[in-house]
Subunit: 418 residues, 2 copies
């Protein structure tokens, strides 16, 4: 078979499996998720063996330590993946839930009911756990998935796929509801982006800038985009100083590599002289480098921030700092440089919090909490595929509910339209 035939066959089988998964009941999907977790556990040795080979090859190819860290599994990490599937098995099945219901004056009873999206194409890079997380969340919502991982993790992902499919089979669901693209030919990605002849309903890309750029350029099907997270923490003049210090350090340094990590600190001129030195000391003690505007540097010494810094997602122990003349300037800065991902205001002033949450147009807007809460698990979604930065359908953490659509069921008793 040619690559095109292979891919279109995958698409057809996914479409067929999707109809069966959609019509299965919630208990069956739950049983499959539990079985998938169990099969991951019993195949742990196989998965870790394959992963060791992937890691060895990646190292031989000279990749960096951060790359190896994303790629490498160990028994603890694999158990965490299996436990994640158990969590997804435990969340409510969203399919069939009534989102709204009302009766029209003519007696028509209209219900908006959740239904699966259908077939979800996931294109990801080196983290092999994405295969299990995405496949499981999509299944919770009654969808089939076509998973295409990076070539560096191909052995691991193939082995994870075998375990997931065994779980599906055990529960009586078609194993084609989760398929791993069996080739590292990059042309396969292009075919997925064109939708495999209508077989793919939505693409979820999880990866770096080059993948995102390719998806934006080539996709002919809807995409749940996951772009950069240039997140801001804004210390308002009415901030509680202790909260301001603790939240800023957590928002930046808890994990610097996540998309919800704060990249820019904005601080009101009125409190900067008293508060910025404390925050800067705490950040430096945690290992963070600072780059500030002139006003910040006049208060406490740090490197100078260039215009480019406001537009940079460091994903590293670096924070840009700007002193602002109040909430309007903070909101303007976020509108200009932000990526509509996640922003926080630290204040005890309710009116300021209200203004900020109303006017800041990001997927997640927090008051007195760390931007690192930008996470489906922390939201109670039982997991996430990622944080969508697009404005349509899925915005913010993408959990099982966000992988559904809806239909209208209209019940009448003979109504005709005048």
């Amino acid at each position: 078979m040619t690559l095109e035939e292979i891919m279109h066959d995958i698409g057809r089988r996914a479409r067929h499996a999707a109809a069966l998964v959609r019509e299965a009941d919630a208990k069956t999907r739950t049983a499959a998720l539990s079985a998938m977790a169990e099969h991951l556990r019993v195949s742990a040795l196989y998965i870790l063996d394959e992963n060791a080979e992937d890691v060895a090859e990646a190292k031989a190819n000279g990749v960096g330590a951060a790359f190896v860290d994303r790629l490498a599994l160990n028994p603890q990490r694999l158990e965490a993946v299996a436990a994640g599937l158990d969590e997804i098995a435990a969340i409510p099945d969203p399919v069939g839930a009534e989102m709204a219901r009302w009766t029209r004056p003519n007696g028509l009873d209209i219900a908006r009911v959740r239904t699966p999206i259908g077939v979800i194409g996931v294109i990801f890079e080196s983290r092999p756990n994405v295969a299990a997380d995405a496949g499981a969340l999509a299944l919770r919502a009654g969808n089939a998935t076509i998973l295409r991982g990076g070539s560096d993790s191909a052995r691991t992902v193939t082995q994870i796929g075998i375990a997931l499919r065994a779980g599906l089979r055990e529960a009586g669901l078609p194993e084609d509801a989760i398929q791993i693209v069996p080739t590292s030919d990059r042309a396969a990605v292009g075919m997925m982006l064109k939708g495999l002849n209508g077989a793919i309903d939505v693409i979820v890309p999880r990866g770096g800038k080059s993948l995102v750029a390719r998806v934006q350029d080539e996709a002919r099907v809807p995409v749940f985009a996951h772009l950069e997270g240039i997140c801001h923490t804004y210390i308002h003049a009415g901030a509680d100083p202790a909260k301001a210090v603790a939240i800023t350090v957590n928002a930046k340094m808890r994990r610097v590599s996540v998309c919800g990590a704060t990249e820019t600190l904005l601080i009101d001129r009125a409190v900067a002289p008293s508060l910025l030195p404390k925050i800067a000391d705490a950040l430096r003690a945690a290992g963070c480098a600072l780059r500030g505007d002139e006003a910040a540097r006049a208060i406490t010494p740090m490197d100078a921030a260039a215009e480019e810094d406001w537009r940079t997602e460091y994903l590293d122990a670096v924070l840009s700092v700007r002193v602002v003349d109040g909430i309007d300037q903070a909101i303007d800065h976020i509108a200009r440089y932000g990526t509509s991902h996640t922003e926080a205001i630290i204040t005890e002033d309710l009116a300021a919090a209200e203004t900020f949450t109303k006017r800041v147009d990001s997927a997640i807007v927090l008051v007195n909490a760390s931007t690192q809460f930008a996470d489906g698990g922390e939201f109670g979604f039982g997991g996430e595929i990622g944080i969508a930065t697009g404005r349509l359908h899925a915005r913010g953490p993408v959990g099982a509910e966000q992988l559904t659509t809806f239909k209208y069921i209209v019940r009448g008793d003979g109504q005709i339209r005048p």
Copy 2:
């Protein structure tokens, strides 16, 4: 200015206006909608004059009667457009509404809140009322619009735009929140489909197959697709005969040119001999031509349906008829030939109704009611831009609520993430 400069200037101005419309309060948007309706009324003579010129030119160009009917306004039709704006002014403003709210174990209070999408690009063809309907619905949801009508209705749409913008100005909103693309150069459509440098958040195409095909090929921003409506009415063996006749005639013949008109009748073999002749007589009496499969033709004479008929959206007084061996075959037929728009089952059998509504994967699934209820006004949405046949974000009638997105507002008291 070059066309590209003109279009990007429109985009920039729309983006700026969208921020102001978003932050305005509901009362201001309501006042603008009422003022827009009023300005349509007071400029009726100007609008009708321009429309007469458009119609005259279209006739000189030799367009058909159906085209002229879509294009032509008269005082009654224009009043209906204005009254539609008054209705939209009366529906609840969706911006800021809480869609869900919950508290996490760590005390974080999370609310999912409706927000405007931003800038909506509407590309439509000959019906000039789309400009008013779309601009008003988008404004109700806090959005700005860029409207691009067909060249045949350019004079009418320009004059309607003047009235709409006067209404915005009167309410203190930026008139650039509704902009009419001032050129019939088709390259302008291509630029809109590429998003005008990020200025357009979503494209709503309203038009025939060639427009839809162009949009699917060229769009680089999300699209609320409005494809064909090959809608089915299925007469189940448990149907009430009187309802079956009345609903089928209404579903086909009330208006044959709307996307919710039934195009194919499916009828159970068990009741076809007794019921199909009555339905066929009633349809023929209403002026409808029938094209049936062999079994249908054996019951009552009609032309033969070809395979192509099952895939045809007639938008005309023609109905294809197929006798099926029960609900499974009916559902299979719909899955194979339908466009996931609107389907109805006629039955008094609750279990059959349940099976049909669960398994048919269309935007609207009706029980004992006419498919012609596929309409935002009939759903109580106060209007619609159209019926979306895509699966994501907007599905079914697109009213004001469907022109919103959401953000999460997370209120804490100093929470940091462990």
